[in-house]
Structure formats: C-alpha cells, structure tokens
C-alpha cells in the first residue's frame, strides 16, 4: 500500500478530475489557433506470482496500485516561439506515490526554419529523448506495451534520473524525399536527487547509509540522432546519456559515472512492425572514506536488448510478442542476467480509448522492483498479468 500525504492525494485527484471534466471534448488534442490542450488518464490491474510488481500484486485480489494521469498543452506566441508544459501524476506501487510533478515545462525558440530543415532551442524542464520511447515513456498511448522493456530501466530506479532534466536542448532536423534526420542535444544542470529516487535506487533498504549527505546528478548530457527512411518504413536511432551521480558527506565521497548508449532499429510494414533496441550501460565508481584511509574504484558494463513484433490484425486490434534479455554485469553474465517474455494485445475502439492486456514470464531478479518486495527474498521466477484501460483527449 502506498502512503502519501493528504495534499499529494488531493492534487493527484484534482488532475484526474480536471481530466474528467474535459472528457466531453471529443477529438484528438483540443486544437485552437494559438494553443492546444491534451490529457490522459490510465489505470492498471496487476496480478502476479513469485514477486510483487507495482503494489502487492501477489495477494489474492491483485493490485490496482498503478495509474497515470496528465494534462498539458502548448501555447504558440508565433510559429517560431512557443511554451509547452505537462503536469503529471503516477502511482506505481511503492516506487511512485501519485504526487503531481511538472513533467516538462519549456520555452521553444526556433531560430531557423526552411522548407526542409529547422533548428532551435528549448529551455526549461525537458524530456530526454533516449531510444524510441523514453520521451513519452509514462504515457500508455505511446508505449509499445503496458510495461516497458528493460532497455528503459524501469526496475533499476534509474528512470527518474534519465527521464527529464532541467536545462537546455538544441534540436534540428533536415529531410529530403527519402529520409528525415533529427538531432537533439540536451544538457542538464546539476540537480539534487530527491529521497524517493534514492529510495528506488537503493531498493528501499539503504536510506540510512545515504542520509546525512548531498546526492547530486552532475551535468547530465544526452544526445539522440535518429533517421526515418522512406516515410518511417525504417527508423534508426543512436542515443547517448551521460551523467555523474555523486554522494558527499563529511565522511564519505562516492561518485558513479554512468554512460548509456542505445541503438534502435524499427521496421514498419502494413501489418507487421519489428522493433530491436540494444543498450550498453557503463558504470565507473569511486568510493572514498578519508577518515579511514579507504579508497576504492571500479566499474561494470551491463547490456540490454529486446525484439518486439507487432501484428495489426485490423485498425483497432494489435497483437504483440517480445523477448527481452538483460545482463547486469558482463563479467558475471550467468549470475546477473534476466529474461522477460511478453505476449499481449491492444484494442483501440476509438482514437480516445485504449485497452491492453499482457502476460509476462520473468526469469531473473533485475526486472523486479525491489521496493515492492521489501524484507523478502526475491524469487528467481515470476509471472505477471497486467490489464490497462486509458482515455485521452
């Protein structure tokens, strides 16, 4: 069960209410000449065996402790200058508490525009466009499945670190008749890490070790180069994220330098889509306790890859299957690997409604959210059934 303050709860429900109030506004995003508004709300049910996922999902009745809601829009002062923002609330077991946060809020100035290219800058809180889905990872309607593949590091608690930054982003695109190429370069400012993120990273059991000091993510940098060939028939992307996590107290200095590189390939046909994404996560750490004369350094490399096949039976119904493999440490592949097999279906009876259900067979402990399984031995195997319903406007 998630415990949250009454204020957080009121604000979260206000978003859901606000979203409900505009449900009668039919159509896609609500368009006006100068501004657009959009919103979404989705609720999941999870039932699992072996381990808990997003709440106490192994209990008899399953878990309803996973919802997402958001409302946002864009105001255009001119075609070259706009302001965009989105408020967002997410409850995901003990990993997220339903509190409302500013998902993104930035000013966008386009300083160059021709008929085949453009360049501009965004300043504010910006989503990191890593891989094909990170920029919209929390929106049911844009995910490839209800639960993301391990490529997006849901289970590690890193999600909060690399999902958006306060900083600046330079963007550009150029295209011709057969291709369209986009480049985004994002530089974030040094930011303090909040206690919820720390709790997720440490698995909920090491808070005392990290308390009493400052934890920061220093100057995160991300870049993404992507190309759509032949109208999006082929989509290729190369993504990079680099950030240094530091912990500093009177007695201890710890630094973890993280670099993540992602390669994405997607092939879209009329009925079938094939998506392959691979990531390499390199981590170098330094641990120093001067009072004890102790210093330690090291590093590790982890890999993650998945292949998903989507079959569109018709314009409303899509079936998908995915095999997803991760090696937490390449020097110990047999001890740190995990595999998730997913089968699911997605039904969109109208553009505004989406329903999905999926089954996951999980081998390994990396995909299991530790915060939802406190004080217990994590089971090597688990099965998970998830359903989700969502509405957007």
């Amino acid at each position: 069960m998630t415990i949250r303050s009454p204020r957080q709860s009121i604000i979260a429900h206000a978003i859901v209410l606000l979203t409900s109030c505009v449900l009668p506004l039919q159509g896609h995003a609500h368009d006006h000449e100068d501004y657009t508004l959009h919103g979404f709300v989705s609720q999941a049910f999870m039932y699992s065996k072996g381990n808990n996922y997003f709440g106490e999902s192994t209990e008899g009745g399953g878990s309803w402790d996973f919802y997402e809601a958001g409302i946002g829009g864009q105001y255009r002062f001119s075609p070259a200058f706009s302001l965009s923002g989105q408020l967002y609330a997410r409850d995901a077991g003990r990993g997220d508490d339903g509190s409302v946060r500013v998902d993104y809020l930035y000013a966008d100035a386009r300083f160059f525009q021709s008929t085949q290219s453009a360049a501009g800058a965004r300043v504010g809180r910006i989503r990191n466009p890593f891989g094909l889905y990170n920029a919209t990872r929390d929106i049911f309607f844009t995910r490839p499945s209800i639960v993301l593949p391990q490529f997006y590091y849901e289970g590690y608690g890193i999600r909060e670190l690399f999902f958006s930054v306060d900083g600046a982003q330079l963007y550009s695109y150029w295209e011709n008749d057969w291709q369209s190429t986009t480049l985004d370069l994002t530089l974030g400012r040094t930011d303090e890490i909040d206690s919820t993120t720390l709790n997720n990273i440490s698995g909920g059991g090491s808070q005392s070790f990290l308390s009493g000091g400052d934890t920061e993510l220093r100057r995160p940098l991300s870049a993404k180069l992507s190309t759509d060939l032949m109208g999006g028939s082929w989509r290729l992307a190369l993504s990079l994220f680099d950030g240094m996590l530091t912990f500093n107290s009177n007695a201890i200095l710890a630094q973890i330098d993280t670099t993540m590189t992602g390669l994405s390939i997607q092939h879209n046909r009329e009925r079938l889509s094939y998506t392959l994404e691979y990531s390499l996560l390199s981590t170098d750490f330094l641990f120093s306790a001067p009072a004890f004369g102790a210093t330690s350094t090291g590093g590790s490399k982890g890999e993650s890859a998945y292949l998903q096949v989507d079959f569109r039976q018709n314009s409303e119904l899509t079936w998908y299957g995915r095999i997803d493999h991760q090696i937490g440490d390449r020097t110990r592949p047999n001890e740190t690997d995990s595999t998730v097999a997913t089968l699911g279906g997605r039904w969109a009876p109208t553009p505004n409604w989406l329903f999905a259900a999926e089954l996951h067979g999980v081998r390994g402990t990396a995909p299991v959210p530790r915060v939802d399984n406190p004080n217990t031995q994590i089971a090597e195997r688990s099965e998970l059934f998830v359903m989700m319903a969502g509405y957007r406007f």
Binding site: G27, H28, A29, D31, E33, T36, H38, F40, G72, G73, Q74, R76, S78, P79, A80, S84, G85, Q86, Y104, Y106, D108, R110, Q113, T115, Q116, A118, R122, R127, P129, A135, T136, I139, F141, T142, Y171, Y173, E175, N176, D177, W178, S180, M230, G231, G232, S233, N268, E270, R312, S315, P351
Partner: protein
C-alpha cells in the same frame, strides 16, 4: 489569347514546379492536395516538404504564416490513400508521430475532421491551411487552391 488570373498563374507555376521537383503530377487517382489560397507555396514543393508539413515538423510557410493541417480520421479510406500515395507511409506510423509531438509538446498534431466536405470547408476558410480531397476524373493537377473565391461546393471536387 488566354488571359490568366493571378490564381491561375499560381496554379500553373505550382504544377510546373511540382512536376519538375519530384511531386508526382498525379500521385493518386483518388486523392488530390488542397491548399488555402493564402499559402505562399515553397519554391520547391517536393515529397520531402509535404512530409515535413504533414509530420508536423514544418510549422510556418515561407512567408511566416502558421501551417494548419487538416486530416480525416485514421480509418477513412481517403486518409489511407493519401498516406500511402503521397507520404509513402501508413496511417498508424503517422499517428505515432503525431502522438510523439502532442505528448512531448514539441509540435502540433493536425486537426481531425469527420468528412471530406468538412475538410474542404476548413481548408477553404483557414489561412495557411492544407489538406486533401477526392480527385475528379480527368483532373491532373497535383494541387488545388481553394479559398473565398471558390464556390461553396466546388465543382471540381467530389465529396
């Protein structure tokens, strides 16, 4: 001697440019591009430019007028035909692109209207608008310009 009005001259020039620069004279037997008469057409209206407009990347015409894109629902046969013939893509790929724009705040998805007649009326009455319509048999032009001067139910379009 044939006297060309300014609009007709524009049509001829656009047709010539379209043919010269890659936009097929008749990408489809079924569907034809329509643009509002206020639109200052790009010097090279190629398939790449068209994709840039319909994918929501190009937000202003060369004279600075905001681009306003109108489309039919994803399941409409004319929308499918337009996606395949002009954009060389599938409706679901386009929808994903629009969702990405909407939910990241980085662009504006096209406005969806229910019928071909509503689409025509929107393009006809909105400065900077672009859309598509049914093509009449024998009509070879790649682009049709519509605006206040065109008839409320244009004789050269089918609804």
């Amino acid at each position: 001697m044939i006297v060309l009005t300014a609009r007709r001259k524009a049509c001829v020039a656009i047709f010539a440019l379209g043919v010269l620069l890659g936009l097929p004279a008749r990408a489809s037997d079924e569907v034809q591009l329509i643009v509002n008469e206020s639109v200052s057409m790009p010097a090279s209206f190629s398939a790449g430019v068209l994709r840039s407009v319909f994918y929501g990347r190009m937000q202003a015409w060369p004279d600075g007028t905001p681009v306003r894109v109108f489309v039919l629902p994803e399941s409409h046969p004319l929308h499918k035909e337009f996606c395949i013939s002009y954009l060389k893509t599938f409706p679901y790929v386009l929808r994903k692109q629009w969702d990405q724009l909407t939910f990241t705040g980085t662009g504006v998805a096209p406005e969806e209207v229910a019928t071909t007649y509503q689409l025509y009326q929107k393009v006809r009455s909105t400065p900077g608008a672009i859309g598509y319509a049914n093509r009449l048999p024998g009509n070879e032009n790649p682009i049709k310009i519509v605006g206040a001067a065109s008839l409320p139910t244009d004789q050269t379009l089918r609804f």
